[in-house]
């Protein structure tokens, strides 16, 4: 948004209010998910950081103007680029987590097979020879 002299002064008021409401609602949702143990604290931190970012922008709209000027973009563009990069980071973190989980999952399945065999042997089951 520009004033009569062509200076950028920050968000429309409606944008600010929208951003604040969404950020607060988002933060509340994340905290509630943690409280109900649907979301682990360590993964909630990433989302809480995002909500704090939204709150910060809503409270201090001049910061976005500063960013826009530094990069030579419209503030909305800065906003989109930042959101996109953040989501990219989130997806990367998730795939790392999934990789680790699937590795543990595989190790556990193998352990189950080895232990089940050992139990059968210790019980002197007729399932095996020797």
């Amino acid at each position: 948004m520009e004033d009569s002299t062509g200076e950028m002064v920050g968000f429309y008021l409606s944008h600010r209010i929208g951003l604040l409401v969404v950020s607060v609602a988002f933060m509340a949702t994340v905290l509630e998910l943690v409280r109900r143990a649907h979301l682990k604290e360590r993964y909630a931190l990433l989302w809480l950081a995002a909500a704090c970012g939204g709150l910060f922008l809503g409270l201090f709209p001049q910061s976005v103007v500063w960013f826009s000027r530094s990069f030579g973009f419209q503030y909305l563009t800065v906003f989109y680029v930042a959101s996109f990069l953040f989501l990219l980071l989130v997806v990367l973190v998730f795939t790392v987590i999934i990789s680790k989980l699937s590795e543990r999952n595989r190790d556990l399945a193998q352990e189950v097979a080895l232990l089940a065999h050992r139990i059968a042997r210790l019980e002197g089951d007729s399932d095996h020879e020797s």
Partner: protein, 242 residues
């Protein structure tokens, strides 16, 4: 005398598993046999259990060939086998050749022996496209392992104790055979191949469909590059004991 384990990974192989195990039992009665049932939906595990012809490691769900093979190698490591042989459940790998693989390990000239379908004395003839794909892949892999292996996808292999320890800790998940060669090479193990006479599969289907071949090439090709730079799990007490 070496203690030898034959590992047979099986996924939905009810048509062939019993005759295959019996042919191995007959050909090499001195070897122990373990069937790794990779969460089959058919009667593979039940048949092995009922017949009592081999030890059975039954995975609770399907892990894919890599996870299945690794289970067998973990079993070999924990039970202190000197030599482990991996052998398909579909009857392609001739049981009579097992001791030929073992001989090269016992005389100390190799850590890993691959039964190859390509070297002289073998009349394995894959389709044209498959031949080109495998040849490209082979050349690529040989760049990284110092050459000398023509049949990089053969699943008929024997490993000594040092190699068993390496693969029980590090095993690729899908299409693992070529990658395992790179991992073994990186650990300084000597891999050789000898010719074996393969038979046509007795039942079941290949896990690599024609439309999957391109994906296979790209996946394995890239995975090998990554293997070169990967840090491997160090030898630890994790897989010992029991």
């Amino acid at each position: 005398m070496s203690r030898i384990l034959v590992i047979i990974p099986a996924y939905n192989e009810e048509a062939t598993i019993v005759p295959v195990v019996k042919s191995i039992r007959t050909a090499v009665p001195e070897c122990d046999i373990v069937v790794v049932d990779d969460g089959s939906r058919d009667n593979t595990a039940a048949l092995v259990r009922k017949q009592g012809i081999a030890e059975l490691l039954a995975l609770p769900f399907n892990l894919g060939i890599g996870g299945g093979m690794q289970t067998g190698y973990k079993y070999a490591a924990r039970n202190n086998y000197d030599i482990a042989i991996q052998c398909d459940a579909d009857g392609q790998h001739p049981a009579e050749e097992i001791m030929a693989l073992v001989a090269r390990i016992e005389d100390g000239t190799a850590d890993v022996v691959i039964g190859s379908r390509y070297v002289a004395h073998s009349d394995y003839r894959p389709s044209f496209i498959r031949r080109i794909g495998k040849s490209l892949l082979s050349r690529w892999i040989n760049l990284f392992i110092g050459g000398g292996i023509t049949d990089t996808t053969s699943g008929f292999r024997a490993m000594n104790r040092a190699a068993i320890d390496v693969v029980s800790r590090n095993y690729p998940e899908d299409y693992p055979e070529p990658e395992v060669l790179v991992i073994l090479h990186k650990h300084g193990l000597k891999v050789v191949e000898i010719p074996v006479q393969m038979r046509p599969r007795q039942g079941g289907v290949t896990s690599i469909r024609p439309q999957g071949a391109a994906y296979y090439m790209v996946k394995v090709g890239l995975a090998i590059l990554i293997d070169i730079f990967r840090r491997y799990a160090p030898a630890s007490a994790k897989n010992e004991g029991s």
